[in-house]
């Protein structure tokens, strides 16, 4: 479903991703673990099409279509969703206004009508309840004054409403206390579907106790250096990344 082929990426002439290849199948949850600076967040941003990264080689195929030829908006419309590690604060745009704009943009792209306001409100209310998001928060400007945990929950709320083909979670566990982590993980688990794939990027094994991965990849120095089952995450938790960091060097 999502195939990353020999991807090399640099930013300001510094190579971050080095000939990285990775496949995520439909219905699968793939975890990517790795030390700081291994290129995990770069991979997430390049998937979503953030400017300023220079893709030097490789392809990213979503259902056979090369995402690298598409703008960020088009990638989202094809079903790619990035849950940001640091969601951007946007003063002056109410969270609700933003949600409606995003939802309707995606509906229009599929040739569907805009949601009616009651229908939209109902969907948001249901999704927000599941994630224990206060209605009051949704009236605030987008991500402004949200706590770290609120921002992450709001990312998952968006993902739930937009129902993407591929969800990329960039360190969604960082900054979450254990209760919030459980809520967020339940939110993601509820979206697991045979037709949907997830790429879960994390430092720590902890998140994977709640979101059970099918595959675990270890990333170091811009490439995948090991792939295994969920047991690989446990091994990393015990031994750290040192072995892999050296292996990649």
């Amino acid at each position: 479903m999502l195939e990353i082929k020999s991807l090399s990426v640099s930013i300001e002439d510094k190579q971050i991703l080095d000939n990285l290849s990775l496949t995520v199948n439909a219905g699968e949850v793939a975890a990517i673990m790795g030390p700081n600076g291994s290129g995990k967040s770069t991979l997430a941003y390049v998937l979503a099409g953030k400017p300023a990264y220079e893709v030097r080689a490789g392809e990213i195929l979503l259902d056979g279509e090369n995402l690298l030829e598409l703008k960020p908006t088009e990638r989202a419309l094809r079903g790619l969703f990035l849950a940001f590690q640091y969601p951007t604060e946007i003063p002056g745009v109410a969270a609700m206004t933003f949600l409606k704009a995003a939802l309707n943009a995606q509906r229009r792209a599929r040739g569907e009508n805009d949601l009616t306001t009651p229908d939209f409100m109902r969907r948001v209310r249901e999704a927000a309840q599941a994630l224990k998001i206060d209605q009051e928060m949704l009236r605030r400007p987008l991500n402004v004054g949200f706590s770290g945990g609120e921002k992450k929950r709001f990312e998952v709320l968006q993902m739930a409403l937009l129902a993407p083909r591929v969800g990329v979670l960039d360190e969604t566990d960082s900054g979450l206390d254990i209760d919030a982590l459980r809520i967020v993980a339940e939110g993601v688990n509820a979206l697991r579907d045979p037709k949907r794939a997830f790429l879960v990027i994390t430092h720590y094994q902890r998140l994977l106790d709640y979101i059970r991965p099918d595959v675990v990849h270890v990333m170091a120095r811009g490439r995948i250096v090991a792939t295994g089952g969920p047991e690989l995450a446990l091994e990393l938790e015990r031994n750290g990344y040192r072995d892999y960091a050296e292996e990649a060097a």
Partner: protein, 422 residues
Amino acid sequence: MTVHVVNPSAAERTLARQFAERERREPSAARAAAFTRFAAVGLPTRRVEAWHYTDLRASMAEAAPILASPTPADIQVARRRLTGRERFARGPQVVLLGGCFIAELSDPLPAGVSITERVAEITVDDPLAALNEALSASAWTISVARGAKLAEPITLLHLGDGASSYSVYSRIGIALDAGAQASFVEIFEGAHRGAQRNTATILRLGDGARAMHVAVVDDDPGLHVETQICELARSAEFTAFGLVSGGELTRRQIFVRIAGVEAKASLGGLALIDGVRRADTTLQVVHAAPGGKSREFYRAIVDDDAVGVFQGKIIVEQAAQKTDGAMKSQAILLSPRAQMNEKPELEIFADDVVCGHGATVASLDPEQVFYLQSRGIANSDAKAMLLEAFGGECIDRIEDKSLVDPLRARLAAWLEARKAKP
């Protein structure tokens, strides 16, 4: 003011002729003195400090013929234009044609409010304000009686003329007696590129009076020069907002004088500038009495080859101890050729004051654009959303919420038109 005597330009020669003509019909020592003040400087160039970024002498090739007083036929045409026209604000409307108050097109005013043909004096030193005094057809003053509190704003509608090329000079006084409360919305409508407009609004607020003034320049004159003067007595409060979304060259110059103790002024505005348009907002806030408070908050969105100017000067005189002043100006540039000139200034002669200013010029934050795009929102929609937020935040500071919606609608319309451009 520095005087540079140079050969008069074509426009200046025409203005002198127009004034002489005026004098022949209706001589007035006050007008003659005003024209002398104008002529000493002429149309300002970059060398006149307050006009440094708007070289009017260079951009005003010629002075258009002064629009004659409206005839009954003109009034009939205006009446038809007003029929079915959607109003900007609730409340009574006063209509001005060619700078003249037209009673038969205007609504009755509420109790405690009167409109009389009375000259409001121009008390500032500026060549275009002097020119307004010398050439305005007639001067009207709206008075609000002591203690009167108006429930709805009064709209002053300056209706442009269909003539291809004309100039219009208008002057309105607004006087609030002690304790009076009133809001005014001044709408400039219907002028085309051939129009040159010089308008002045002079507000005097008595002890404890509260006034709000909203100006909307949404039509498309070749030149719009607007002088706003506000003098505040003890504990008076003045709130002003200006939206500029049209006009080839607009200059809003606002002179506020805090003359009584503990008076407050809060000024704001939003300029939406595109194409090759130029929009200049120049403020002078003088704190002449102790305990005054002033706030200035201006924003601009500058696109294409447009040029924006914000000049704000806060002067705190020696007597004005315990003054609290803060001025902020922010602009977003949407094109590599767009320009914004910002000049905030403080001149403080008192020693116990809190005053500050800040000015920023930036482009849209690419992180914010990317975040919206990553949710499937098109680039142009994402930008419009961010610009609507930027402009909207400035509009939302207006306390009268019934005026927020129509102002936001103008902003949305401007952004929509921008999206439609190739």
